[in-house]
């Protein structure tokens, strides 16, 4: 056997051995996965929680003590837009990875269709009992549908405007300010297609979830006009806040209270949030466990801790202008945060800033979500 032939044969053998090892590991892994639950019963809370949500929703000050005391690590992946959530989970093709997400109530229908949510076991969430009645309810099926809970409401508030109070000493009272000459090139718009259509629709008294083609054209025209007033669309809420913080914009739309904190982190403490006279739309981002979760015990513990009264209150304070979802948390709020919402009559708040559903996934009557998203891409580049 010549040297080269010998080397070749050896390599082939090694290659076959390597391939065999790969095949064996692939063959065994489903068995390992099936047997995993058998160990689960004895498993203690621990390991890593892969977190997929907005920056800040991991509320480091309020939620990390539980992580520390339970020896759990949190590995956050922050999203730039809500659509990153379904895109990242579906990209796993049924594999494991992300343990916890939050979803905006409007995405419930889409997520049901995509089958990326798991039903929650309420026995593992004893603190659910203490939630405010509004958030415990099956309101429009956003969190509980047909008796099946898929989410635990956590962060809520409204979207309106954020602005630099140094450049605009008087708080804007109407969305009309966005279209004034003085604001030409001073507006920054978030790259959030559903948020944009929802807020524009609200200002025009059009429900985004039941938009007719004519209404869709009206809202689209409004948005085109608005984007023309801006210097382009910011790729994320964080970047939008940074544009205001850096002085490249004065008003951000849709404005999210959390952006006040983002701007402060960028060195500008003059950024404020306001709900103009037309109101805004409310969001309720809720914890959910996606199909990609491989550490359910720790994830249930994490969620249950987040809805314990003291932690829930601390997280709301940490969020800046945040609301609580737990009845017992109200008394733990500081005076300023407690004064933001009338917890005895939340319906008043949700009348001014309703919780909307997203456009439907399928409909022969109303504009569907794919059309909204496609049109938004056009508007952005218009």
């Amino acid at each position: 056997m010549s040297e080269s032939t010998y080397e070749s044969a050896l390599s082939r053998r090694r290659l076959l051995q390597g391939a065999g090892a790969v095949v064996a590991s692939v063959g065994v892994s489903p068995w390992l996965a099936e047997t995993a639950p058998a160990f689960g019963a004895e498993r203690k809370i621990g390991g890593t929680i892969d977190f997929l949500s907005w920056q800040g929703y991991d509320s480091p000050k309020s939620l990390s003590p539980w992580l520390k005391s339970n020896g759990v690590k949190l590995k956050p992946t922050y999203i730039a837009t809500h659509d990153d959530i379904q895109a990242k989970i579906l990209a796993l093709h049924g594999g494991k990875g992300y343990d916890i997400i939050t979803y905006y109530q409007g995405y419930k229908q889409l997520y049901d269709q995509l089958k990326i949510l798991t039903p929650l076991d309420e026995t593992k969430l004893p603190n659910l009992k203490g939630m405010l009645p509004f958030f415990k309810s099956d309101y429009r099926g956003f969190w509980v549908k047909n008796g099946v809970r898929t989410a635990v409401p956590m962060y809520w508030g409204a979207l309106g405007l954020v602005y630099d109070s140094k450049a605009l000493p008087t708080a804007p009272t109407s969305y009309d300010i966005l279209f004034t000459k003085a604001m030409k090139g001073k507006v920054t718009v978030d790259d959030d297609p559903v948020g944009a259509y929802t807020l524009a629709g609200h200002a025009l008294k059009i429900n985004v979830a039941t938009m007719t083609p004519a209404q869709f054209a009206t809202v689209t025209a409004y948005l085109k006009k608005l984007v023309k007033q801006s210097k382009g669309v910011a790729p994320s809420y964080g970047d939008c806040a940074k544009r205001i913080a850096d002085g490249d914009a004065v008003i951000g739309w849709p404005g999210w209270a959390a952006q006040v904190g983002f701007a402060a982190d960028s060195g500008n403490k003059n950024v404020r949030f306001v709900l103009p006279k037309e109101g805004g739309y409310a969001y309720c981002d809720s914890w959910a466990i996606p199909i990609s979760c491989d550490n359910p015990d720790a994830t249930y513990g994490y969620i249950n801790n987040a809805i314990s009264p003291k932690v829930n209150a601390a997280a709301a304070i940490e969020q800046i202008l945040g609301g609580v979802t737990v009845a017992g948390a109200v008394k733990h709020l500081d005076k300023q945060t407690r004064s933001l919402y009338d917890y005895k009559n939340l319906n008043n708040f949700f009348a001014k800033a309703p919780l909307y559903a997203n456009p439907p996934v399928k409909s022969s009557t109303f504009i569907t979500i794919d059309k909204v998203i496609a049109k938004w891409q056009e508007i952005k580049a218009s």
């Binding site: 801006s230 382009g232 952005k380």
Partner: protein, 279 residues
Amino acid sequence: MLLTLPATAAMAVFFVAPIAIFVVYSFLTAQLYDVSRPFTFDAYAAALDSPLNRTLARNSIEIGLLSAVCSVALALPVAYWLRYATGRWRMVVLFLITASMFASYLVRIYAWRTMLGEHGVVNSALQSLGLIDHPLGFLIFNRFAVTVALVHIFLPYAVLVLFAGFQPIRPGLLEAAQDLGAGSYMRFRRVILPLVAAPALSAFLFVFVLSASDYVTPQFVGGSSGVMLGVQVQANFTTVGNYPLGAATSLLMLAAFVALYLAMRIGLRLARLDRVRFS
């Protein structure tokens, strides 16, 4: 033959396989964040029919060409200087040129936001010099800003490619041309240019392809006029959930890049610059 196996395997896994998957996806029927049979040309028809895609493709080509022209134009004298004038400092200068590549891509983009923003370094400097009363708003969130950021990002690559192109051209060749009466322009036109045409083309294509397909820079410094086709490809995969359309748009971009490469090769051949050798 065996020695090429790792490289071949790497190319197969990281290049051929993804492209093959994209090709298959581009012919499948779109579902929401999913695909199904039958195979169809619908995605290609939609990608080509879309006025938005055409606008963004035009933006991409214009910004890509401008970035590539600027990068090569700036890189040529730097690479020339690096090859013939830096002497023993060459490695230090090379290190300084490549050092900017060590910084994160996003950090460099944000650095340009800090430079070109309304209250950025450029506007502040101009104001403090009394040259302007109000900040110049046109410096940021437009095509200009995208081009500046892309040139900054890709210039070191162009310099390195051209420096490698200059390496085999011995100084003696230029001295011989000078002895024969060639002035500096003639030396550049008749000696250097034919010899570096092929490397310059490589640098040009390298910068063009990466710039035209970029989807991060336009979002951070682009504004509406700076949105490029890469952003739409990304949106098709993440926001719209239309994988076939995203794949078809990507493959059409790839086809355009290959066509440009072939056109430039033909151009070199017609100009008889493709067979120039150094010795």
